[in-house]
């Protein structure tokens, strides 16, 4: 951004808090893209020019107007816990920190309306006295925000019961600010709310979300150790299919990945593959009856994600990858979706294809109403060519890949894609193409 433009922008922003210190702005312009050696190379030098921290929606409207007026790109950032550079500005401009917008507007039985910058763990803590909680959260619950989750997420802990955010009913409504010289505020309800799901903030600045809630059970963290990964996967599928057993998480992790599991390590016997589960306390006995002695339970404790604790879910989903990366930066990962009808067969087939190179980690989920699993395998990284070959070998066998080594919505999302006209909507809310430019690759702004 030219010093002139910056000056005019700053004048327009007036008393809205800003930071222009390049070191700070650059540090905040990052997320967890470094899980991918490919993204790390592409994104590590990217930075916004200015960090702007609005305190309410009125200020966001002023910022959006100023950016439109001066043709300055705007990238929204909250917790910065994404893995695909969703919050990394490719073309400088404004980095919009929305974390001060954290107010809960209301809580009703089964639903909450909350500002987009509210942290997920704070929301759940506020909901607890009402007997409710969010239906799902990423493994980064303790640092991520609801807006960031919806803008980039897709699903997580809870998706074994409710499916992902893309399933009908999992986002009730969203409120967005357009980026125009006279910004509008648009309420998207029902299906229409999918227009902002996993769009990385390219389809409007999300200021508030209405989310459906789940009953807040007392959850029990459980680790079960198995001699063999195939047994762990088979039990995981059975448990996921058991509609009478109330659960929030079923993950199967192959040996030797659990040996990297820090504080959980004592519960991960050498050479064993594990299933990690979160089961509602009243279903615990039924869960064990289903297990029927097939594995050995090495951990059983109520979920505690308070300060100083490491809850089991921080070893699941993409935290599995993180736990390994802490010790070994030579690995990376993939994201896959298995076909529900030939699940275990395909898991075995992929396992055999890459016995040492792709270490299996499966998250059982519902997808389109069917139990299947999303793989987040840890991959011993050689080079981009081999990584692409591994992707092709999965897809040739009917296992879909949502490539986490690209930063565009089109190339990365694949099966995570929401069923909504996000491109058409972008033209409506961001005609100048200023929102997180470059992420929606196929969008060409008006007059460009």
């Amino acid at each position: 951004m030219s010093p002139d433009t910056l000056g005019r922008l700053l004048a327009d922003l007036d008393d809205i808090p800003t930071i222009t210190d390049a070191r700070i702005v650059r540090r905040r312009s990052r997320d967890f893209f470094w899980y991918s050696p490919i993204l790390n190379e592409l994104l590590s030098d990217k930075s916004a020019d200015i960090l702007v921290s609005p305190r309410n929606e009125a200020e966001i409207i002023r910022i959006a107007a100023a950016c439109a007026r001066h043709r300055v790109p705007l990238t929204v950032r909250a917790g910065g816990t994404g893995n695909y550079g969703q919050a990394v500005p490719l073309r400088g401009g404004v980095l919009l920190d929305i974390t001060a917008l954290d107010r809960i507007e209301w809580v009703r039985p089964g639903a909450i309306r909350v500002a987009a910058g509210a942290k997920l763990n704070v929301i759940d803590a506020e909901l607890a006295p009402h007997g409710f909680e969010l239906r799902m959260h990423p493994s980064t619950k303790r640092t991520a925000t609801i807006g960031g989750f919806v803008a980039g997420g897709s699903g997580g802990i809870g998706s074994v019961t409710y499916g992902g955010l893309r399933e009908p009913g999992n986002i009730l409504a969203a409120r967005v600010v357009t980026i125009e010289e006279e910004p509008r505020v648009i309420e998207l309800r029902g299906d229409a709310a999918q227009k902002i799901n996993r769009a990385y903030g390219t389809t409007g600045i999300i200021t508030a979300l209405e989310m459906p809630l789940a009953p807040a059970w007392t959850w029990i963290d459980i680790v079960v150790a198995f001699d063999d990964f195939a047994e762990a996967a088979a039990f995981g599928q059975e448990a996921a299919l058991a509609d009478g057993v109330v659960k929030k998480l079923i993950s199967a992790v192959a040996a030797p990945l659990p040996t990297y599991f820090g504080a959980l390590r004592p519960h991960c016997p050498d050479g064993k593959s594990i299933v990690m589960a979160m089961v509602a306390e009243p279903s615990l006995e039924s869960f064990k009856a289903l297990l029927n002695g097939r594995g050995s339970i090495t951990l059983e404790t109520p979920t505690d994600d308070g300060p100083g604790q490491v809850p089991l879910y921080e070893y699941s989903w993409n935290h599995t990858t993180l736990q390994v990366l802490k010790a070994d930066r030579s690995v990376t990962y993939l994201q896959s979706l298995y076909p529900p009808d030939r699940l275990l067969e395909k898991v075995a087939e992929i396992r055999q294809l890459f016995p040492d190179e792709v270490l299996p980690h499966l998250e059982f989920i519902r997808f389109g109403g069917r139990v299947t699993c999303s793989g987040l395998p840890v991959v011993r990284y050689r080079d981009p060519e081999r990584l692409n070959e591994i992707i092709r070998m999965h897809e040739a066998r009917g296992v879909s890949i949502a490539n986490p080594h690209v930063f565009t919505i089109e190339d990365g999302s694949r099966y995570k894609r929401a069923d909504a006209d996000q491109f058409g909507f972008k033209r409506e809310v961001d005609p100048l193409g200023l929102l997180n430019p470059g992420k929606m690759r196929s969008f060409v702004p008006d007059g460009a």
Copy 2:
């Protein structure tokens, strides 16, 4: 029973209330088997010799001991709402009315322990202040008991979310009294509790049950009218698969069946097929978004099953058949299970096979963790041969039938069969073969 035996039995029963008036005993020896013209012929002259009404488990133990001592058959009866003669004594003896055993032992978050004779609607009313309800109930909720449901049921309203009683976790524990000269009391927990599931009381006298609970949402009764049954079925499947939409009932009923629907008739336009649904209030908007204008909503009202009301669920499951039978005694019904992977295709195939003779009624359920549907079609009855031919034609096309025109567990249950060694267990709890004799066809008592 010989007058001598009866006299000795009465002496042993002492102060336990009994009725021997043949007219009363015969009337209580019946259930709703008359839905089947075949069972009606086979069972209408069956009766116990004496009705015994214990007030607590200690009295049940005394009755069981007396029956064993005098070799008197014992058939348990509660609400008498079954359809396959489960409570009809084939060989006279004692009819054991357990409805006085209706005490709730305890309620904990997510679980209840209750005496077997408690009525389902009373249980739910007691649970309401705790924010819970039973996970599922038959359409006879307002007259049936929990013991009768578990002994004969299989599933019902709620099974679209939790599956049937046979799914792991849907019965937590059962307490049974054996029928021996010195009866024992046995607690069956977890998998073991399946030994009494749909065994018609042949595997012990159930005195208490521990059942898992569901959160008690505010349910909304909804009727959607469609021009075409295929559309209704397709929407039903979509709604059943939508894990983000919290629901308790999804039924699709083909025209002209809804014209028989008494008080619901004004909401059932001529010539239309309907979907009946119970949706949690916070999911109502999502349900409508999913519907997306495909049918027209003709009813939308909170579920009310209080006195004087007819809740929507009393038009679903086997109440659909009853509503038609009220006007037309020439029909009967079947019970079928569709394969989840070719659901709509098979529904269309069966529809085409019997366009006027078999009128489709589908209940969407989860079965083994997969969404499918159980059919309870209304059948224009000709004769037993044709009925059997219709059954064979279903099965030849991969649609399983649980024949409701037979009274034995083996012949009737089929896919409803619990996964447990009920035969082995019967030898343990009823070595003399006195419990509801004739219902477990393949059981031969010791020394017989």
